[in-house]
Structures are given as structure tokens and as C-alpha cells.
Amino acid sequence: MTWIPEDSWIVLTGALCAMACALPGCFLVLRKMSMMGDAISHAVLPGLATAFLVTGSRASLTMFLGAAVVGVLTAVFTQWITRLGNVDQGAAMGIVFTTLFALGLVLIRSAADKVDLDPSCVLYGAIELTPLDTVTLFGYLVPRATLVSGIVFLLNLGIIVALFKEFRLSAFDSGLADTLGFSSHFLHYLLMVMVAVTTVAAFEAVGSVIVIAMLIVPAATALLLTHRLGLVLLLACLFGASSAFLGHLGAITVPTWFGFQDTNTSGMMATAAGFLFLIVWIVAPRTGLVAQFFHKRTDLPDLPSQGKKARPTASR
């Protein structure tokens, strides 16, 4: 294995992306909307296709706008069907995103002659090609994907730091948030916009496999370890960044053990995130499988009082 500067750029891009996803992801997990990331990342396809068909170019900005609009529409449509049709939220989400994805596939295929837009590129991403597409920033050559991921990360970080109190309140008790005058409705759609923008920016850079994984897995891993929201956000970023590093390392080393050259980095980053979750699931103090085994299950994890001090848990 040889580590070249390009590898560092790939890891940096992946890590920034992972952290950008992990931040809104924590709130998705807490608000029981983990599948929203999956839904939005599939549903943006018609947005991309329409933006391309209308403008005829692959200019990032129009594609970005098209996808972000459809991403938010996914959340809106899901809400409508849930409320108007009295349908289970999961089912509504499933119907909306599969329909939009199918629409996107048809749009792309019907314009196949002039479109150089491959659905699989959207799904897997091409993070390996990151270092090839560079822009100049303050006199340095920086990969464009790294720049985009960095901007989205800072944007998400800024929003969450600025509205931390409001987000925390509406995540745990949206009714209380409403009575105190923070519109949990507004925060819900703000979160959806964040997820949509992050998803679009990230899959343009690195593919949506990473997005879906990084929205949920680091947040879930962090929630196994602590209940404090601030710490959960920090740990989720940490896990996200480490899975990016481990994933790329795995992508260029693991296949050689079996006689292959290398493999898809995005896929391996998602796998690495799952691997970290597995480890924490097994060895986490107090709530891990090992700890549960030795406590002879007297201290079940979903009881509100764990350890020495009773503390309000994440679940209501």
C-alpha cells in the first residue's frame, strides 16, 4: 500500500462530508426520521434530471437548486400524505421517494441521447476522482469537492450552534417548543432543508451511499455512548471522520488480501461506519452487549435510570 497526497485529499473530503451529514443526522435520529435521509437522497433524482433538461448544462448551481427543491418537496409531500390521507409516516415516505425516483429514472432515460447523467454515478459517487477536479483558493489548488463539503459542514455547524437550544427543545418536546414560542414546524422544515442541501452537495461530491450512512450511523453510534446532546453531536462528528479515514484505508488495503486491486471508497466508508457501530454496540460501557451480559440483564438499556445517577434519556 502506498499513501499518496491524493489519498489525503480523499480522506479529508470524506471526513468533511461525514461530519456535515452527522450534524443534522443526530436530530433525524432523535426525531424518529432516520429514513428521511434515504428518502431524500433517492428522491432528488428528478430534480437533477429536470434541472439538466431545462438548462441543458451540468452547471452545479442549477442542478443543486433543482435537487434541493425536490428534496424539500419530498418532506412536504410526505407530510401531506401522512396528514390528509391518514397514512403511516413510513409508508408515506416510501411512496413519495420511490415515485420520485422512478420519475427521475424515466426522465433520464427518455432523454438518454443528450444526457450524460448516470444514475449509478449519483448513487455510488466518484470520491476517488476528487483530486482531479480542482479550484484555486487563496492561491492554493483545492479539490472542488473538498471545498463544497467544507462549506456545507461549516454551514450546518453554524446553524446548529446558533439554534442549538431551539433544536434541542423541539427534538425532545415539540409541544413544549411550540408553547414557548419556537415554531417546531419551522425548525422541522429547516432541518429538512439542511438534510436536502447536505445530501445534494455531498452526493455531487462523494455519492449518496455515504450520505445515507453518515446521516444515521455515526449519530446512532454516539447515542449508544452518551445522552448529552452536545456530546452526541461531537462524538458523531468524530465517528464520521474516523469512518472516512478507516473506509479509505480499507478500500485500498482490504481488497489486496483477497487478490483484488482496490474497491469503491464510498461503499467502504459506509462499511467502516457500520464496523465502528458494531464495536461500540459490543463494548460500550453500561449499555454494550458485553456489559449487559455481565449485568445479567438487571440493568436493561431502555430504563430511564442507568448507572448511578438517574438522567432523562433520549427516548420519551
Partner: protein
């Protein structure tokens, strides 16, 4: 394309089309049936997680078979691999749910993304195997019904029929599981095993659907037809049958359209047909559709408003009589006399406009006449109806006071909600219950003072 082409495809004369259309139709029936239970168990997205979780199995099965020198693309082998990793995914989901604090949705998202990522990584690897083309494997992601051949059709048909039969055999048990799993467990049913059996059926149906609609869109086949059927009925067995019908319809129409327009992706077309059925049903299905339901609600609102006007009118007449006779309320018959429509306005919080709208509606029903001098006179029918409505209100109030221990000063609002839906049998029952308690009078007096304006 001319008409004879169209007829050839619609009537299934073309051999290839026949195989493809029949496969997707049968698949639609099976997914529709199984999906109904998945929907009622609120696990719709479980199918999504499961279908993504099959990808590593497909890649590994392909890799192993090719490296051992067999044909890696034989469908049964790939589907066996898909089932194994799908089942593994489901078991992991259940394990995460039972041993951690994380909820269902997190477990699904986790398994989905990690397995899919692993699948992509493995697929990229096996594509490097020299001298072997893994190109067909991608069709499992987006689906490619046109690649279905006769042996695949037989596999799909046999598995689908087995799935349908199992579902029908376990219909009662699954129903119990969906509506009250705690009760099922307490009655001695093996709830966990039933749950696993249901998920096993979902796995089977997902795996055989991979080839035709692909692993991203198979979830639509599992969710959309049952949700569509749910708008048409409140009866589970009707819903399951309808759901199978909608699934078959989407499969048939989608595959037919894709046979007409060869370059459009068939999996996507099937999903779009299902979605069109869903939208039409959500809007117009008589049982739970949005439009019929809002019409019904509107009709009820109008009926309630009219009854409120009538009761207010009756209470005004009652007060007038009390004033004339200087007696205790309710002790005499009420005379039907004209009264000023202004007095109605003070009886309730309603706007002048909505009150007049309701009054005009009542006039059209010949319950009352609006006279030019600003007074209102109830007709004979209207007076009878007003007396009936008031009587229902008072009966219900009396019932609440004697049997539900509600204070007389609070009972008016509670009775207000219920009085409009009292069935004649219920009124008889109320009369019976109340007669046992006290001396019966035709019109019970109001238990609270009626505000006099």
C-alpha cells in the same frame, strides 16, 4: 407502432412479453398480499432496508461461484445469496432493536446504509475478476424485467404461489399480530416467530422481485398497493385482496407500457402506475378518500349547524313561554310563535353571516320561514325537529349527570358534541336508563339555567 402491435402486446401474443407481463403480475399479487400486513404492522420501510441488505449477498454469491468456475449469473444462486444476506440484515435489525435503546427507524437506516455500502464495495471488487463480465448484476439495482426468461418465470411463479398460500394459511395469526401483538403473545401465540415468519415472507417476495423492479423500487411494490387498498375499505381481508389486485394491475400495466416503449425503464414504469393508482384512490376512494371524506365532513358540519339553530330556536320559545306563564321552566307545553331572529344571534358564538346561511338552508328544507319583519316562525315539521333535537340534548345531559358524574354546569358543552350522532336506538336506551331513575316527563327540563338574553 400501429394498432396490431398494440393488440399483440396487450393480448400477450408475443412470447417474451407474455413471460415478462405474467411475471410482474404474479409478483404484484404476492407483494400486495404480504405488503398489507407489513403496512398494518407499521414496518413499511423494513422492506426498503431488507432489499438494500440483499446486495452484499448477490455480490458474494457471484464472486464465489465465478471463482469456483461455475456460471456466476445463474439466478437461483444469486437469489440464494440475496436471501441469506437479507435474512442476516433482518436479524441484525431485530437484534439492534432488542439490545439497544435505538428505535426501529434507526435500526432500519443503519442496516440499509451499511449493507448497501458493503454491497457496492463488494460489487466493485468482483467486477475486477478477470475474464468475467459482471455487467448484468447492476440490473438488480434498477431492475430489468426484459431479462426474465421462462425458467425465471417458473421460479417467480412457484415462489409467489407459495408465498400467497402461506399468507392465506397464516391470515388469522398475522391479523392478530398486526392489531395487537401483546394480546397475541398473551394468548399463547408465538408472536416473535410469527413476526419472523412475516419478515421471512417479505424477504422471499423482495428477493424474487429484485430482477424485475430492482432493489430500490421493490419497496414501492410492497408499500404502494396496500396503502392504495387501505383507502377503499376498512376490512382487512378485503384490503388484502384489493391490494393484490392493485399490485397485479400495476405490474401488468407497467410491464405492458414498457413493452410498448422499449427504451423506458420498466421497473420505474411499474412504480409510476402504482403511484397513479395511489393518487387517484387517495383523492377519490369512497371509504377513506380525501374528497369523499371532506364532503361527508362538510355535510355533517352543516347538519350540526342546522340542529344548533333549531335547538336555539326551541330554547328561545321555551323562555318566552316561561315569561308569559311565570312558572318553572319545562312545566308546560311550548307554543310555537314567531320570534326575532336577532335573539338567535346571542345564543351561540356564531357570526351573523353563518347564522343567516344556516337559516336560509333551513328555510329551503321548510323547517322555518324568515318573515320580512325580521322574525322567524318555525313550521310544524321544524318545530317537531327542534323539539326532538332539544330532547336528545337534554336526555344526554341527564345521562351524563346521573351516570358519568359530570357537573350540571359543565354538561352543556359535552352534550353538544354527542347529541348530533345519537341514533334512535340509543335514544330509546337513554330513555329506558333514565326512566328507571326518576319520574319520566316528555321533555326533561334543562339541568342548568339557559342564558336569557
Amino acid at each position: 407502432m400501429n394498432l396490431s402491435d398494440l393488440w399483440e402486446i396487450l393480448s400477450l401474443q408475443n412470447y417474451n412479453t407474455r413471460v415478462v407481463v405474467l411475471s410482474t403480475t404474479i409478483l404484484g399479487i404476492a407483494t400486495g398480499l404480504v405488503g398489507s400486513f407489513l403496512l398494518l404492522r407499521k414496518r413499511s420501510l423494513m422492506g426498503d432496508a431488507l432489499s438494500h441488505a440483499t446486495l452484499p449477498g448477490i455480490a458474494i454469491a457471484f464472486g464465489l461461484m465465478t471463482s469456483w468456475g461455475f456460471d456466476g449469473k445463474s439466478l437461483p444462486v444469486l437469489l440464494a445469496g440475496a436471501s441469506i444476506s437479507g435474512v442476516l440484515g433482518v436479524l441484525l435489525m431485530l437484534a439492534i432493536r432488542h439490545t439497544t435503546r435505538l428505535r426501529d427507524d434507526v435500526a432500519m437506516g443503519l442496516v440499509l446504509s451499511v449493507f448497501f455500502g458493503l454491497g457496492i464495495a463488494l460489487l466493485t471488487m468482483v467486477q475486477e475478476i478477470p475474464g468475467v463480465s459482471a455487467a448484468g448484476l447492476e440490473s438488480f439495482i434498477y431492475g430489468k424485467p426484459a431479462s426474465i426468461i421462462l425458467s425465471d418465470f417458473i421460479l417467480i411463479a412457484v415462489v409467489s404461489v407459495a408465498i400467497c398460500l402461506t399468507t392465506i394459511l397464516l391470515f388469522k395469526e398475522f391479523t392478530l399480530l398486526c392489531f395487537d401483538d401483546g394480546f397475541a403473545a398473551s394468548q399463547g401465540w408465538p408472536a416473535l416467530w410469527l413476526d419472523i415468519a412475516l419478515l421471512g415472507l417479505v424477504t422471499a417476495v423482495t428477493v424474487i422481485g429484485l430482477q424485475s423492479v430492482g432493489l430500490i423500487l421493490i419497496i414501492a411494490f410492497l408499500i404502494t398497493p396496500p396503502t392504495t387498498a387501505r383507502f377503499w375499505t376498512n376490512n382487512l381481508s378485503h384490503m388484502a385482496i384489493l391490494s393484490g389486485v392493485f399490485g397485479a394491475l400495476s405490474g401488468w400495466l407497467g410491464a405492458t407500457v414498457s413493452a410498448l416503449y422499449q427504451d423506458l425503464p420498466a421497473g420505474a414504469l411499474i412504480v409510476l402506475v402504482a403511484a397513479a393508482l395511489f393518487i387517484a384512490s387517495m383523492l377519490f376512494a369512497p371509504a377513506r378518500g380525501v374528497v369523499p371524506r371532506s364532503l361527508r365532513q362538510r355535510r355533517l358540519r352543516h347538519k350540526v349547524a342546522r340542529q344548533h339553530v333549531l335547538r336555539a330556536a326551541y330554547e328561545i320559545l321555551e323562555t318566552q313561554c316561561d315569561h308569559e306563564h311565570h312558572e318553572s321552566p319545562g312545566a308546560h307545553l311550548v307554543d310555537n310563535k314567531p320570534f326575532r331572529s336577532e335573539t338567535l344571534l346571542a345564543k351561540r358564538t356564531w357570526s351573523r353571516r353563518s347564522l343567516h346561511k344556516t337559516l336560509r338552508a333551513e328555510q329551503k328544507l321548510e323547517h322555518l320561514t324568515l318573515r320580512p319583519d325580521g322574525t322567524v316562525l318555525l313550521s310544524e315539521a321544524g318545530f317537531g325537529e327542534a323539539a326532538r333535537v332539544t330532547r336528545n340534548h337534554r336526555l344526554w345531559e341527564a345521562y351524563l349527570i346521573t351516570h358519568a358524574d359530570i357537573a350540571p354546569s359543565h354538561v352543556d358543552r359535552d352534550a353538544d358534541m354527542v347529541e348530533h350522532v345519537l341514533e334512535p336506538e340509543l335514544v330509546l336506551e337513554l330513555e329506558r336508563v333514565l326512566r328507571e331513575r326518576e319520574a319520566w316527563i316528555a321533555m326533561p327540563p334543562s339541568p342548568h339555567t339557559i342564558p336569557n338574553h
